[in-house]
Subunit: 299 residues, 2 copies
């Protein structure tokens, strides 16, 4: 499917992720109109350089679009841009499909789904959080986890396949978000494992690089060990995945627990360590990668 199929795409949110994803759609030959709240962002320039057309407003961006993608920030940003007055819900064409890549948790996704479905234009919605980071977005190798109607997933697939490699339908609205939060639990707790194994190696006075190099391919192996463990050994705290984003994603798990006890004690242990880092080291620490957890063990 190419641009001459006549499908017009919109993309809202030109952060690092969104800009790369919009650029990949444009490079694949699709007609993409992009918008960002603050106009001066480098991501916006990157998307325009890749052939996207800039829009002055949300209305300008989505008014002719049959599929509207978004990659925004936290829950309130996504609700404001998609589902509240002055947002997509006011300007999108009848029964347009909205696909949101932000991580906002299952409840917010279901709420947006419902608001859009009940709107005058009867918009359709897929929650579509991603993993794979800036590199995955740039290379079109993201994992994209989708919740919503199967038919809508099928309609979006030709476009999603330009942005991701593993593209998985997970179930009704919110299901993509649920799987993404499970992924964040894995990432957070695997980081505990890496930190404690390296901490033990330091205590037992063996070369910490042995932990990464020898154990990564065995039964103790993980992506976190091979990649973030390797950064710890080089004293490299650059993200990877930023502490502040991990803290936000883990907060979403609490927000979605309906007030019930979570019974995720290891996740909560990791969460409190991530927060401790930010509390102790301030704003700079927010930008560290999650592998900064090792610092908690060194105190």
């Amino acid at each position: 499917m190419t641009a001459d199929s006549g499908v017009s795409l919109a993309f809202l949110g030109m952060g690092i992720m969104g800009a790369s994803m919009a650029a990949n759609l444009s490079k694949a030959g699709f007609s993409v109109k992009v918008w960002n709240r603050s106009p001066g962002k480098p991501g916006l320039k990157k998307a325009l350089a890749a052939g996207c057309r800039g829009a002055e407003s949300i209305k300008d961006c989505v008014a002719d679009a049959s599929i509207i993608f978004s990659c925004l920030g936290d829950v309130e940003d996504v609700k404001a841009v998609l589902a509240e007055s002055g947002g997509v819900v006011d300007f999108a064409p009848e029964s347009a499909l909205v696909v949101d890549f932000s991580t906002i948790g299952p409840r917010a996704a279901r709420e947006i789904w419902e608001t859009l479905a009940k709107s005058p234009a009867r918009l359709r919605f897929l929650d579509a959080p991603v993993t794979g980071g800036d590199i995955g977005a740039a290379n079109g190798t993201l994992t994209i986890m989708l919740g919503g109607e199967r038919a809508d997933f099928d309609e979006a697939l030709p476009y999603l396949s330009k942005m991701g490699k593993v593209i998985e339908y997970c179930g009704p609205a919110g299901s993509g978000q649920a799987l993404k939060l499970a992924n964040q639990v894995l990432c957070a707790v695997n980081m505990l494992a890496v930190s404690e194994a390296l901490s033990l190696a330091e205590r037992f006075e063996i070369e910490p690089s042995l932990v990464v190099d020898v154990l990564k391919e065995g039964a103790g192996g993980s992506w976190a060990l091979a990649n973030l463990g390797a950064r710890i050994i080089k004293d490299d705290l650059a993200p990877g995945f930023m502490l502040k984003h991990m803290i936000k994603d883990l907060r979403l798990i609490h927000d979605n627990a309906d007030g019930a006890a979570l019974n995720l004690p290891a996740m909560e242990m990791a969460e409190s360590m991530f927060k401790e880092l930010v509390e102790a080291d301030g704003e700079a620490a927010e930008g560290f990668g999650t592998q900064a957890m090792i610092e908690v063990y060194r105190r």
Copy 2:
């Protein structure tokens, strides 16, 4: 190097692991004499069928051996067979090399190293714990982590290479044990990650197989997720790695902490769950694989 190099090998302990390892040495053409405390064991029969020769006693097994391998149980078994009266220390030839594959922790390894070095025969010792399980032992694809003298490691390498694929010198006596315990920390805590991600998926009512199938190749991926997560989904609690062995290995970490606080809170959380399973479900639970941890989350 083959049997006609005249090197005579001994192998003590014909459990599942030891029997496969001795069999691989014999199949590679080496002359291997084997011994097991209880003579009727299936492992002993397997080794004999693979061409090993049976020995009546420790003395008979090691008296002519230049390299003596052992794969035994817990610390006391290994000390008794190698370093105490009536053991290898009394019967091995002058300066023979003893290579022990058991997991016993760094301190016990250093103690055995010292006892053997100071013995009249001035025996040499390598601690050489393994990972890779019964399948790795059978296929000769174990990871073997060695502590001791580098020259002794070099001498043992041609034989080790018939039993393992990744064979790593880790440093002075006890270093192989230290790396093995770091591996067990990874295995134990990665199991927390898998259990909590699957637990969250159940709570959020998505298909738990998505957690394994979609997330295993990404930033949340681990050997534990791909292999033990997959068993959980099939309600398969068969080991993998037995709970009772994991509990023993984690105990060794405490035993080697010199009374100081461990500061390995996630490891201790996993350990208390493994123990809870055994306490609640009795002897049968000891034989479950570590993935039985999911049961703690389902209570």
